[in-house]
């Protein structure tokens, strides 16, 4: 909001350079955004841009800001007076006023100026308004605008002769009623909206904008000036509903001062008469059915010290409050009673007064110390610790972390997770982010496309985040971990041949995850997922429950994301992973006797899985098995089409003794026989 330095100086002596004034006010909670100077040598040419926060409508004008500046610099405020000449014709002879809804219009004050000549404003007034970016219109309108920017109270001038029957009614709009506002737009009104009407219909939108029909123009002879107080919520709702934000609505919706109407009215009336001639009606009409009594707020000086952490001192407190026109009753020295000026709508409680004191002194005066409180005892929860482990495991697996929006495209979500209807965002910024995600995979696939489209040779990303599912009361939020891998495999080094990532890279990442979390029961169901699913591969199980999926992203899905080539993905339920995790590991004694390793090269059915082989080996061995590893799998020339050659290494390990070569050999023979009988496996000759 723009303020002129010269204009401020009308009301308070400011000898400091504009930058210094800006700094003082900033330190008191009226932040300066910038200063523009038409002439660097002339301080009076300075125009400030202050960011006046919503709780301080009283500072949205020059007198209000000058009051703050004066209080900070210890200088008095000179409020402009207005002397309406006695003896004018009574306002009641020119117009009548009825407030139908006193809840929404607490006060309505009016005067007329009769016999005006509408013309351009004098240069000084135009210059004032132009300095803060306001466009001069004519002397009557400019006078009311001037008062808005001077005293802060919005006023509205009507062409009195266009107010039919010269009767003002403040009422709610009637169903179907409409009004052409000053900006020329025909507005359909709603009964929740408050209007100023005459005998026949609405002539203005209360507190927002006047109507075209009663606009001040060159032909206007008689002016009706309105200074009123309108309900903030009604003004705000109407302004939002119509998309019509004005200087007046900005102030009314933040709370105007009902005590200020007459002063603003008189100031405007004298200005109009001075600039446009005419006689001011007197006395004013002032409908004020339920005047509010001044607010009194108790202030215990001791509370200020406790809350601020230092004692500002009683004298400083007095000074701070009085300079802002608060009145203090100190009959009880421990509990002052402070009368709040009517323009300070924001001060309601003791803490508000304490803030006034702290603000004036500046927050730099507040000492800095750490609180002494017992430790909270909470620390990191188990779920946070386990999430961190998941995070660490996937980083170790060579995946980098991605963070995506929680909103996605409905079609993409349904493509990856058919059957779960996403929840709609009612006012999205873009249609691709209009639904709450039900799966993390689409976001990662978008990242994949981005990386490949920007010259990346590989993409390995994971994300840990929430997904949202519809539920009765509120959406169910659950955490997932997902990953996407594509492009060149790792490790990559000049000494190694290049390869593309495949299913085993994705599986390896999940296996590492299981190992780090201590989930020995994590299995991959080798019954393949139906090939018409978006991710074709394996079901991931922890114990008996399915916790996710791992596999190759189906080509139609990749096409939707404009990804060429192959991509592999997994997505797991993080809560299920946490549930299955064992944080505490039990120690197993280290073997004291050597292990014996034997290799077997087998030809098996191509559908025979490692789990089956392992099961047979363990049951047939009758010697303790330390582990079984596959070190080769081969299909192709030399092996029949429906068979595969699998080479495994079996580690025999006894806890209590060294194994004899003969007994290992015997075990091996039993194993080979069992593999042949149960799986039809044959031993390959070298």
């Amino acid at each position: 909001m723009r303020f002129s330095h010269a204009w401020l100086r009308e009301y308070v002596a400011l000898d400091e350079p504009p930058e210094a004034v800006g700094r003082r006010l900033t330190a008191a909670g009226l932040p300066l955004d910038g200063i523009e100077m038409r002439d660097a040598a002339d301080a009076d040419s300075a125009v400030y841009d202050f960011d006046i926060l919503t709780n301080r409508p009283d500072c949205m004008n020059h007198v209000g800001l000058a009051r703050e500046a004066g209080a900070l610099c210890g200088r008095p405020l000179r409020v402009p007076g207005a002397r309406v000449p006695f003896g004018g014709p009574p306002t009641s002879g020119s117009v009548s006023i009825v407030i139908e809804d006193p809840g929404l219009c607490r006060r309505y004050s009016a005067r007329c100026v009769l016999g005006v000549t509408v013309a351009e404003s004098p240069r000084w007034l135009q210059a004032r308004l132009e300095s803060i970016g306001q466009r001069p219109i004519n002397n009557v309108v400019d006078a009311t605008n001037f008062v808005l920017w001077e005293l802060g109270h919005p006023l509205h001038p009507f062409d009195l002769d266009r107010v039919r029957e010269r009767r003002i009614v403040v009422r709610r709009a009637r169903p179907g009623e409409s009004l052409q506002t000053l900006d020329g737009v025909e507005r359909r009104l709603h009964p929740d909206m408050l209007v100023i009407a005459d005998e026949r219909g609405a002539v203005a939108l209360a507190g927002i904008m006047g109507g075209r029909a009663s606009e001040i123009g060159p032909a206007t002879r008689n002016v009706l000036l309105e200074a009123a107080w309108f309900d903030p919520v009604t003004v705000r709702r109407t302004s939002k509903a119509l998309g019509l934000h004005t200087d007046a609505s900005h102030r009314f919706e933040r709370g105007a001062d009902p005590g200020a109407t007459l002063r603003a009215l008189d100031r405007a009336a004298t200005l109009v008469a001075e600039l446009a001639g005419g006689r001011i009606t007197d006395p004013a009409l002032d409908q004020h059915p339920n005047p509010e009594t001044p607010r009194h707020v108790p202030l215990r000086p001791e509370s200020a010290s406790v809350l601020l952490g230092y004692d500002p001192g009683r004298e400083a407190m007095r000074l701070a409050l009085r300079s802002l026109e608060f009145r203090i009753d100190e009959s009880d020295p421990a509990r002052w009673l402070v009368e709040v000026p009517s323009f300070r709508r924001d001060v309601e409680r003791e803490v508000d007064l304490i803030e006034e004191v702290a603000r004036q002194r500046g927050y730099d005066a507040i000492p800095s110390r750490l609180p002494l409180l017992p430790d909270d005892g909470g620390g990191r929860r188990r779920e946070d610790r386990l999430s961190a482990q998941v995070h660490g495991a996937l980083l170790a697996a060579g995946l980098s972390e991605a963070i995506n929006f929680a909103m996605g495209d409905r079609e993409e979500l349904l493509l990856l997770l058919p059957g779960t209807a996403p929840i709609r965002v009612e006012n999205p910024l873009q249609s691709q982010a209009a639904w709450l995600r039900t799966t993390l995979v689409p976001g990662l696939l978008r990242n994949l496309a981005h990386n490949l489209n920007h010259g990346g040779v590989r993409c390995r990303l994971f994300e840990i985040g929430r997904v949202f599912a519809p539920s009765r009361e509120r959406p169910l939020e659950s955490e997932r971990v997902a990953g996407v891998l594509a492009g060149r495999g790792l490790p990559e080094h000049w000494s190694l041949p290049r390869r593309e990532v495949d299913l085993y890279d994705a599986r390896g990442a999940v296996e590492l995850l299981a190992e780090r979390l201590g989930i020995p029961s994590l299995r991959f169901a080798s019954d393949r997922i139906a090939s018409d699913l978006p991710i074709v591969g394996l079901r991931v199980l922890a114990g008996a429950s399915e916790i996710g999926v791992l596999g190759e992203v189906a080509p139609p899905v990749l096409r939707r994301f404009d990804v060429d080539g192959r991509a592999f993905a997994f997505e797991l339920d993080l809560e299920a992973l946490r549930g299955a995790a064992t944080e505490e590991r039990k120690f197993t004694s280290l073997p004291r006797f050597p292990a014996v390793r034997r290799d077997l090269s087998l030809v098996v059915d191509e559908t025979t899985g490692l789990e089956e082989i392992e099961g047979v080996v363990r049951s047939a061995a009758r010697l303790p098995i330390g582990g079984i590893q596959v070190f080769d799998r081969y299909r192709g020339p030399g092996v029949p089409g429906d068979r595969a050659s699998v080479a495994v290494q079996i580690v025999f390990q006894h806890a209590d003794r060294t194994l004899e070569a003969a007994e290992v050999q015997a075990a091996l023979e039993r194993i080979v026989a069992a593999l042949r009988d149960r799986l039809g496996a044959i031993l390959r000759e070298e």
């Binding site: 919520v233 809350l307 601020l308 803490v351 927050y363 000492p367 409180l373 909470g378 020339p637």
Partner: protein
């Protein structure tokens, strides 16, 4: 014969792995490509006896094998010789075998750092839902319906009369409803606002802190923020509080730090002011305590917030917030943890 080629290759790889000194390495060489009786050499001879229609494909796989064996022997020779011979025999210009772990997102890095600072001070970590009710996001925070302060928090609404939380402050309310004072908590999470430009993202991350107890004062807030900022930026810096307005705190403040780049003399990062805005803070408003049933006469508290993206942008000199959500490897890999 194809499977023999395959087996020999496997066997070779394992033998080579086992050979760690020049002598055993030489034995491997003789065993596979020795002029007499070398296994690969033998394969080449057998090739002549293969059926003519197979000869071409077999020839290719045998030759591949031979090449593999020779290349591997050569590079292994470099390695084993390094143990015995002078380093000059190595091509020292070649890069090492890189470990290629992933990198945590820069937002996570800042988040972890802030978490750690507060955990060391004995705070607990709390969290709350991302889809919130009007009550927790606004009402209980002293922002009633039709309050102009709602304008600054452009809200995404979700079907069913819910919204995406515009700040992490609802976690304050949820935590106070569940627990009694004294308490010290931080909550870090995603928040949502309908706004998108180089410095605003519709999704971003916030830190929320709350301390409630008897005798908690504004000075404690200042001390805590000073500690946080010094630890976070790892340097002596000046903290400045300015009065500001957030309906759920009173007195309210915004806090700035002396510019981390110029130290306060004025530069582009601080737009010449010497100060960098970090976040908002204040003493918990009594109306908030009333909503959660705390005795506002007995307890006082402070609350503060800050944006993680903003800190990450400052620390790393990132000029467009949208980069955080593209997840471009070229971006992510610039911030290895």
């Amino acid at each position: 014969m194809h499977s023999r080629v395959h087996d020999i290759r496997k066997q070779f790889d394992r033998d080579l792995e086992a050979a760690t000194d020049p002598v055993s390495l030489d034995a491997v060489r003789v065993r596979y490509v020795g002029r007499k009786g070398g296994l690969v050499t033998g394969l080449l001879k057998d090739l002549r006896e293969a059926a003519p229609e197979q000869r071409a494909s077999l020839g290719k796989s045998v030759n591949d094998l031979k090449q593999h064996v020779e290349t591997a022997l050569r590079s292994a020779g470099l390695g084993t010789r390094a143990l015995a011979a002078a380093p000059s025999a190595l091509d020292l210009s070649l890069p090492g075998r890189a470990q290629q772990p992933g990198v945590p997102h820069p937002i996570t890095q800042v988040r972890d750092r802030i978490e750690a600072i507060f955990l060391e001070m004995g705070y607990s970590l709390e969290s709350g839902p991302e889809v919130e009710t009007d009550y927790y996001n606004f009402e209980a925070l002293n922002i009633p319906k039709d309050h102009p302060a709602r304008d600054t928090q452009d809200t995404f609404y979700v079907e069913g009369g819910l919204l995406l939380r515009t700040h992490t402050s609802p976690v304050q309310i949820r935590t106070m409803e569940r627990r009694r004072p004294p308490l010290k908590m931080v909550a870090i999470g995603r928040v949502f606002r309908r706004d998108s430009d180089p410095t605003h993202s519709p999704v971003f991350h916030q830190v929320e802190g709350l301390v409630v107890g008897e005798g908690i004062a504004f000075s404690h807030l200042k001390g805590t923020l000073e500690h946080l900022c010094r630890r976070l930026f790892d340097r002596e810096l000046t903290l400045r509080l300015r009065p500001s307005y957030f309906p759920f705190v009173e007195p309210g403040a915004e806090y700035d730090i002396s510019c981390t780049l110029c130290g306060g003399s004025g530069c582009r990062t601080c737009k010449g002011s010497g100060w960098i805005e970090i976040g908002g803070a204040g003493m918990v408003h009594p109306a908030v305590f009333e909503h959660v049933g705390y005795d506002a006469e007995r307890y006082t508290g402070f609350a503060f917030g800050l944006g993680i993206e903003r800190i990450a942008m400052l620390k790393h000199g990132i000029d467009d917030i949208r980069l955080f959500y593209e997840n471009d490897h070229r971006f992510l890999s610039q911030f290895p943890a």
